[in-house]
Symmetry: C2
Subunit: 137 residues, 2 copies
Amino acid sequence: MVCDEKKRRSKCPVTFALDQLGDKWSLLIVRDLMFHGKRTYGEFLESDEGIATNVLADRLKRLEAEGIIEKTRDPENRRRVLYSLTDKGFDLTPLLMEMVLWSAKYDADTATPKAMLDRMENDRAAFIQEVREGMKI
Amino acid sequence: MVCDEKKRRSKCPVTFALDQLGDKWSLLIVRDLMFHGKRTYGEFLESDEGIATNVLADRLKRLEAEGIIEKTRDPENRRRVLYSLTDKGFDLTPLLMEMVLWSAKYDADTATPKAMLDRMENDRAAFIQEVREGMKI
């Protein structure tokens, strides 16, 4: 049992994660921040999945409220808002890596290069560290 | 880059996983099969999150169509349908483990016992194997 039976209603960790992460769109924003170096509202809007502006605005607010992302002003252009992952957000890296590895196994046309999959599988800690460093301003 | 830029529209592995896994309810069914030993429609319905019957029926169909779960007849009661995870479904174990570990870190009231969290973190392969064996009929 992963959850204690009595506590499960509110305390199941799978439910907690799913409630915090929300729907598909929230995790795609996390992906864009984590792997694609995106930082701005406009960049998220351009992603191929075609997120709607109202959905994007709502999910950014939710992710910020949950402490997964944070907003700062661009020091070079004070009118521009930059989003970044918090520690809590970066700690989702292993979860997204497992998603990528699972998809690579079951989607013959997956876009992830074989060399990257090998590193995710065999050099986890170093990969996670690189993701984190790549995201620094 | 986890996804090759040109291929990303349809081939991004994060999108693939999110599309296949669907919403929260699908993953709660996978959790019930994986960690709680549930096998029947009635057992899924009893889970604390209170899934609605129409949602449950729909998500079971979707998960079966995607090859994540499969149906068999209960050999002891031919009118009863038993659900189980396929190999593809069991291969979601690391993803759910990362969800549990993340939640344990950020939800002070998480229901997962500390000893189990330690095993998930430090003895991954054995834990995955046990999950798999626990699910055998």
